[in-house]
Symmetry: D2
Amino acid sequence: MNHTGEIRPIRVTIWNEGAHERDQEQVRGIYPDGIHGAIAEAVAGPGVEVRTATFFDPDHGLPDGVLAETDVLFWWGHVLHDQVPDPLVDRIQARVLDGMGLVVLHSGHYSKPFKRLMGTSCTLTWRVHDGGERERIWIVDPAHPIAEDVGEFIDVAQSEMYSEAFDVPPPDHLVFVSWFEGGEVFRSGCCYQRGRGRIFYFSPGHETFPIYNNPQVRRVLANAARWAAPHHDIGSKLANRNRAVPLERIRRS
Amino acid sequence: MNHTGEIRPIRVTIWNEGAHERDQEQVRGIYPDGIHGAIAEAVAGPGVEVRTATFFDPDHGLPDGVLAETDVLFWWGHVLHDQVPDPLVDRIQARVLDGMGLVVLHSGHYSKPFKRLMGTSCTLTWRVHDGGERERIWIVDPAHPIAEDVGEFIDVAQSEMYSEAFDVPPPDHLVFVSWFEGGEVFRSGCCYQRGRGRIFYFSPGHETFPIYNNPQVRRVLANAARWAAPHHDIGSKLANRNRAVPLERIRRS
Amino acid sequence: MNHTGEIRPIRVTIWNEGAHERDQEQVRGIYPDGIHGAIAEAVAGPGVEVRTATFFDPDHGLPDGVLAETDVLFWWGHVLHDQVPDPLVDRIQARVLDGMGLVVLHSGHYSKPFKRLMGTSCTLTWRVHDGGERERIWIVDPAHPIAEDVGEFIDVAQSEMYSEAFDVPPPDHLVFVSWFEGGEVFRSGCCYQRGRGRIFYFSPGHETFPIYNNPQVRRVLANAARWAAPHHDIGSKLANRNRAVPLERIRRS
Amino acid sequence: MNHTGEIRPIRVTIWNEGAHERDQEQVRGIYPDGIHGAIAEAVAGPGVEVRTATFFDPDHGLPDGVLAETDVLFWWGHVLHDQVPDPLVDRIQARVLDGMGLVVLHSGHYSKPFKRLMGTSCTLTWRVHDGGERERIWIVDPAHPIAEDVGEFIDVAQSEMYSEAFDVPPPDHLVFVSWFEGGEVFRSGCCYQRGRGRIFYFSPGHETFPIYNNPQVRRVLANAARWAAPHHDIGSKLANRNRAVPLERIRRS
C-alpha cells in the first residue's frame, strides 16, 4: 500500500531513452511499443498507474510536474547517458532522497542518476554475442518481496553477459545472482536505500533479446514497483537544521 | 601493513580548509598549528608519514602528484565547501574508488567529496552553544580496529551537537554512537567501502573546542588512518570491460 | 498484506511470561490485563487478529497448533527465561526460519529464542531506579515501515536504562537509537532476517513503568506486527537438497 | 598484526574430523597428511603458528587449553557433525564471541559450531559427480583482505556443486561467488562478525578432489587466517552488567 492508504494507486513512470527502437529495426521487432511499452505492460495492474516517457519527449519526458507525481521511476538507458542533462539528474536524485523509488534496468547501471546515487564507478565486465548466451537468474533471498512468485530461478535463453567485479556499494539486500553460460557470475538484483527512497538495480534486459517478455522477469518488474514505492510520507524535507533549544537543560560545571 | 609490505609507510595527507584559523583568534588559540596540525600530530607515528594541505595552498594543496601519493586523505572543511572546485572533487572520488582511504571529519559531512561518495544529502541537525555541551561517544563495536585502545566511551566536555536523522547510506559498520547533554543521539563513527577505498566519517571536532587534543579522540584518528589505508594493490583500473571471448564454450541449442 | 492477499488477516500471538503480573501488585496496577494484554490492545486493528499466551498456560500457551497458525509472535520474558523448554525454543526457531515474524521486547533480549536466532550472547548494560529515568527513542531511519507515523522521537519519562555495547549481530536495519538521561545510548530498534522470517528487537518496556500505554510506542508495536508478517509463502521447507541432475550438461575435458 | 603487537604470532588451530582419511583410500591418496595437513601447509608462514587437531584425538583435539590459546580455528567436518559434543560447541561459540576467529570450510556449513553462530538452518543444494564439475570462484570484492593476490577468479576443474538458496544470515561482506558448470551459483565466501570474533565461511574443498592443493585456494586460506585473527584484546568478558550509578545526574521532575 502506498502512503495515502488504500485509495491512491502507486504512480509509476517508465523512462526509456528510446534510441534503439528509433534506430534498429531488430529492436522494434521485439518491442513494437518500445522497451518502455513492454515494461509498462509488465508493471501495470490493480493499484498501479503507469505512464511512460522517453529521452525524445519534451523535457525528456520528465518535467517537474511528472517527477513530483511519480512514486516509482523505472530507468532504461544506454547510448544517450551523456546527453541526459545534469539538472534533470539533480532533480531525480532529490526526488529519490525525498522518497521516490527508482528501478534501474540493465545498461542503466552506467546512467547518470544511478552513478550519482551510488557514488561509485558502477563499472562491470560485459559480452554480447549475436545469439546471446544463457543467463540463469538465481534467487538468493526467496523471502524478499521482489522474489514473490518468481520461483527458484529464471532461465533466460538469450542474454548479454554482465559479470563481476561490479563496482557498486555493498547492496543492503542481494536478491538475485546470475549465472552465465560463458562462465561468469553477476549480482543481478541489488536493493539500496538512499535518503528516504528505495533503489533496485536489475541487470537483465538487453535490447536485442525479448527478455522483458519473459513472464518471470515481468513478475520481478511488477514486484519491484510495489517494493520501491514510498511506504509513508515523512513530511519534512531533508535539510541541515539548527535545533537551537535543547530538549534537556544543559548544565555547565 | 600497507600493500607494499613492511617497508613503505602509510602516506597520510591531512587536508583542512584553514579558514577558521585565519579568521578567528579563538581557533588559533586552541590550534596554534591549525586543525590540520593537531590532526597530523595525532596521526603521526611509526609506519605513518604525514603531510598537511589547506584550501589556501597552491592547487588547494592537492595537485595530482600529492593525491597520487596519498594512501589516506583526512578532510576537515566547513565554510568553504562550495569553493572546492568540482574537478578536484572528481579526482578525490576517483582516487578513493581506486583504493585511497578517506577520513571525513565533523562538518566535512557536508563537503563535496563526502556528498559525492555517499550519494545522499548528508544533512543532520545541529546546535552549538558558546560553552558547548557534553558529548559522550559510545563504542558500539569494541572489536573494530578503529576502536582499539579507546575504552568504553569518550567523554568530551564541550562539543557541538549533531543529531539524527543523519541522511547517509546505512553504514557498512557502525563503530560509534554519541550521546549529547541536550538530549540527542548521533551515529558519530560510520565506515563505508566505495570502489576499492575505505571511508570513515567521524563527527566530533568543532573548531572552537579543543577536541582534537583529547587523547582518546587522537587515538581514534590514528586508528582510522591505519584502518583506511589500502590493504593491497589491485592493479587494474575500474572500467567497463568487454570480455569478448567467454571462459566456457557457448552452446547454441 | 499477508501472503494470501487481502482476505486472511495477520495472525499475531502475544507471548508474555506473566510472572511479574502474578507476583507484583505494582505491575498489576499498571497492566491490569497483563503486559500481553497491553501489547495485544496496541497491535489489534483492521486486518490483524491477536491472541495472547503466557508461560503458565498449558504447553506454555504455544502448542504446535498455535505456532503453526501464528504469522507474528511477540515475546516478552524476564525472570523465567531458563524455564522455557528447549524443544519449544527449537519449534520457535524452526517457525521463524520458515517465515514466521518474531518481535522481541525489552528483557527478551536475553530469552532463549532470541539468543538462539542471533548466535551471540545478547548481553548489555542496564540500570533501573525506582522512579526510572528519561529515555528518548530517536528514529534514525524515518522511511522505515516500523517508523511510520511515529514522529522524530519518542519521549519516555520513566524507563529502565539499557546501554551499549549490545552484543548482537550488526542489524540489517537500525531503526531506533535511544538516549538515556543518565548518559548512555542504545540501539533500541534492530531488524534482522533469519531464514525466511523477520525479527525485530525493541528494547523499551520495563514492567514497572507504563511504557506500553504510550501512544507512539503502541504505534511502533502495531507497525512491527505488519512489518514482520511473512510477505509471501515460499512453499518448500528449508533442507539440504541433492540436485543430482545438473541444469546444464557437464563436459569432461 | 595480532593484539600483542609485532612479537606474538597468530596461533592457528586446524580442526578436521579425519574420518574420510581413515576410511577412504582415495582421500588418503590426495591428502597423505590429511585435509588438516594440507590446510596447515597452506596457512603456515611468517608470523603464523599452526597446529592441527582431529575428532579422534583426546578431547577431540580441542581441550580448554588449546582453545584458549587459539587465535583462529579452522573447521572441516562432514560425516561426524552429530557426534561433536554440545559442550565443545558451547566452548567454541564462547571463544568466538570473546574474539577468536573461525574459518569454516566446505561441508562445515552444516557443523554444529557454524549453525550455532549463524542461528539459521545453513542448508543448501548440492551435487557431486565422480569426476566432479568445474567451479569458478569469482572475486566480487577485490579490495577485501581475503582476496589479496588471488586474482580475478579461481578455476577449480573438479568440484562438488553447492548452490543457492543458502540459508545463512546476510553476510557482512560477500567476497566470493561461485559459478558451477552444471548451471548454479553460490555465495562461496562470506564474512561475519559475531560478538568480538570474525567468521569466514569458504565453500570449496570436497574431500575427493585436490582443491586445497590449488595455490590460489591456499592463498585464500592464508589470507583468511590473518583476516580472522583478533585485532586487539578487549579485556572485559561479555556479560549483562548493572551500571547502578549513572554517568550523569538524574533529575526528577
